[in-house]
């Protein structure tokens, strides 16, 4: 049997979780770039993404899973635009604090709207249960490999958008300073909307991957996972997508190694401790460079 003990395996589990955290952290940091506030409602997009797929699979079992996931990602992406338009844009000029506190309210509304529809029962996705296969000395199930692949692909896509499309350049310009971008003739309203689609869509995908890995899940899992995503985002430096990816890997590994070698009862605490230390030592995050 595959030797599942040891540091290598812990790192593997860490990387698997890191792929989910990274997607969430990149999405959060992108939306921070253009909205300039830390969105406490972000976790709910993960839950809505996951439960949209659960719902689609339930009503149309014939629907292939990848298609259901794509529909969910797009749907939650536009939901992000709607939420931003309804709750955040109208007070966008009022500074970060009112937006942050409003996001707490939005988190309550989105979370308990989902509970009202789906009740609090735990749900899971039709994903086959597999035994890990040995691969370079560590155990990894094909499903886990797919999850890492999908996450890597999604981040490659986001990287592509940022670097090689006009939208990407405009997004990076706006994320620096929204007023400046408006003065420079950029239609910042459109940029903000498109950024929200990508940000909320990434969250939905993260939510689906989370559910594939850690089913069954309850509709309230998003808020609980928020702090892990915050840790990765801030570790990488708020507003920096590449930083967020690096931060996610570190947080995923910290949780997994911490649980394996210290005590599994404090797994969340390890991510929190890393987060608080980072906030105190280097609030601008660990990654050099501005983006």
């Amino acid at each position: 049997m595959v030797d599942l003990s040891g540091l290598a395996q812990a790192l593997t589990f860490g990387l698997i979780e890191a792929s989910v955290i990274a997607l969430g952290a990149v999405g959060l940091t992108l939306s921070y770039g253009v909205t300039r506030f830390i969105n406490f409602a972000y976790g709910e997009f993960l839950a809505w993404g996951a439960f949209t797929v659960v719902f689609l699979v339930a009503i149309a079992p014939a629907l292939p899973l990848p298609l259901a996931v794509a529909v969910a990602v797009v749907a939650v992406g536009f939901m992000g635009v709607a939420v931003s338009g309804a709750f955040f844009e109208p007070i966008a000029d009022r500074g970060g604090l009112p937006l942050l506190i409003t996001s707490i309210g939005v988190a309550f509304v989105l979370r308990y709207l989902l509970v009202a529809i789906a009740s609090t029962d735990a749900r899971s996705l039709p994903v086959p249960l597999q035994r890990p296969v040995e691969w370079m000395g560590v155990g990894l199930t094909p499903v886990q490999a797919v999850v890492i692949g999908v996450a890597a692909l999604a981040m490659l896509a986001i990287h592509g958008v940022l670097q090689y499309t006009t939208l990407g350049t405009v997004m990076r310009a706006t994320s620096g300073n929204r007023e400046l971008a408006t003065v420079a003739g950029i239609d910042t309203e459109a940029v903000v909307r498109r950024t929200w689609v990508i940000s909320a869509g990434a969250a939905a995908l993260a939510g689906v991957l989370y559910t594939v890995l850690y089913a069954p899940v309850r509709p309230t899992f998003g808020f609980g996972y928020l702090i892990i995503i915050f840790a990765a985002t801030l570790l990488g430096g708020i507003g920096r997508p590449y930083g967020a990816m690096l931060g996610a890997v570190l947080i995923g590994v910290t949780i997994s190694v911490g649980s394996a070698y210290l005590s599994p009862a404090y797994d969340q605490a390890y991510a929190f401790i890393v987060l608080v230390v980072v906030l105190l030592v280097r609030p601008e995050g660990i990654r050099r460079g501005t983006f």
């Binding site: 989370y210 850690y214 069954p216 394996a260 599994p264 797994d267």
Partner: protein, 406 residues
């Protein structure tokens, strides 16, 4: 005309006497909302049957919800709402989660309380005067698990020598740990490891790693359905070869449907044995059919039979008070709960037959779906347990544990 005129504590239709209010004091929100969903329909069904037969002393029964939200402060105001505003004649509930926060109010206000769910060992020595329960204490349940694990005769697999205790960090689960562990050792087994884990985690690889290191022959897994699915699947992936022993929470079809046979097959579970008498005369089957139709369930859910017995006991106790002193009051009802279940009375198995007998002045002994319902001094019952084994997507009975065996 105000839309919600007379909205609270209204006196119901014209002419008929005041309704007789009964409170259902369980969580209806939060992570334990499923408890409310399982218990409420049963109490409503029984109340409707009683009302159809003319109610108690001509008064219709009114069932009121008290949402404890599984939080102490919420349960306190919910209990106060039931006792002082709704002026309930009796209460079905509470759960182990909030019992200690509200126990004082039951005793102080003399409110008869029959809990169908609270197996917590903290209640083992506190009930008996106002608080009764139609669910066996976890200490008996735990002991039954230990006995079954040791006896191949009962579990049909083998006599397990080494056991690991894997228990979620919540009172409702921890309450099983000591009874299982100490009984298993008492019956000659050895507990090789005790693993307490934080409930509601994303994944449990590290905990499963510790389990495979301990390599027990069997693991007693006391947790929610959600966490049990995660742990057993992670263990399957980690190559765990030992058996599993689950508790009432997981021994149902819903749990099996959430995972695959290759993981769950051969797992042992425990349920209160359907009382042979109830099975023999078809009452158990009749109840299953009635409640599944009434509540729209596909299987009889956890605590349903306990709620049925709790409701019948409470209503019979009220009826006895009505017959003996012409009125229903809390103190007499509390005493009557024990009286209507006393072993020396004539056996009755539902409200109609019991009420009729009481009206004629004969002492009755209510025997329910869960068991003979013979209260000890603390208002606890002993009940026979059915040891089940998972086979595909259903549970097969492997053996029985009688209260005498423990």
């Amino acid at each position: 005309m105000g839309l919600l005129a007379g909205c609270t504590g209204g006196d119901g239709g014209e002419g008929s006497a005041d309704p007789l209010t009964v409170g259902v004091l369980v969580p209806f929100s939060g992570d334990y909302a499923w408890v409310g969903a399982n218990v409420l329909p049963v109490v409503q069904m029984v109340a409707e049957e009683v009302n159809a037969a003319g109610g108690i002393g001509g008064r219709q029964l009114r069932v009121v919800q008290g949402d404890t939200e599984a939080l102490p402060d919420a349960s306190l105001s919910a209990t106060q709402q039931l006792i002082s505003v709704e002026e309930v004649a009796g209460i079905i509930g509470p759960t182990s989660l909030t019992y200690s926060a509200v126990a004082d109010l039951f005793v102080e206000n003399g409110v008869p309380t029959v809990t169908p769910t609270a197996g917590t060992t903290t209640l083992d020595t506190q009930g008996g005067e106002y608080v009764y329960r139609t669910v066996p204490s976890d200490s008996i349940g735990g002991r039954a698990i230990a006995a079954a694990a040791r006896e191949e005769r009962i579990n049909g697999i083998g006599s397990f020598g080494s056991m690991a205790l894997m228990v979620g960090q919540r009172e409702v689960y921890q309450s099983f740990k000591e009874p299982i562990g100490s009984s298993f050792t008492e019956f000659g087994g050895t507990v090789v490891s005790e693993l307490d884990f934080r409930t509601g985690k994303a994944s449990y690889e590290s905990e499963v790693q510790a389990l495979t290191d301990a390599a027990p022959e069997i693991t007693a897994l006391v947790a929610s359905i959600e966490d049990s699915v995660k742990i057993m699947e992670a263990a399957y992936q980690a190559g765990y070869e030992g058996s599993w022993f689950l508790t009432q929470d997981q021994t149902n079809v819903d749990f099996l449907s959430q995972s695959e046979a290759v993981v769950t097959d051969g797992a042992l579970g425990i349920q209160e044995a359907p009382y042979e008498a109830a099975q023999a005369d078809g009452r158990a089957a009749a109840f299953d059919e009635a409640i599944q139709a009434y509540a729209g369930w596909e299987e009889t859910r956890l605590f349903a039979t306990n709620a049925y017995d709790a409701a019948n006991l409470l209503f019979l106790a009220m009826h006895k008070g009505q017959v003996d002193d012409g009125a229903v009051d809390r103190a007499s009802t509390a005493a009557n709960v024990r009286a209507v279940a006393a072993p020396d009375g004539t056996v009755v198995t539902d409200f109609d037959s019991g009420a009729a007998a009481i009206s004629e002045g004969t002492a009755v002994d209510y025997r329910g779906l869960v068991g003979p319902i013979d209260f000890n001094e603390f208002g606890d019952i002993a009940a026979p347990f059915s040891i089940r084994r998972a086979d595909g997507d259903s549970w097969v009975e492997a053996g029985r544990v009688r209260p005498a065996d423990l």
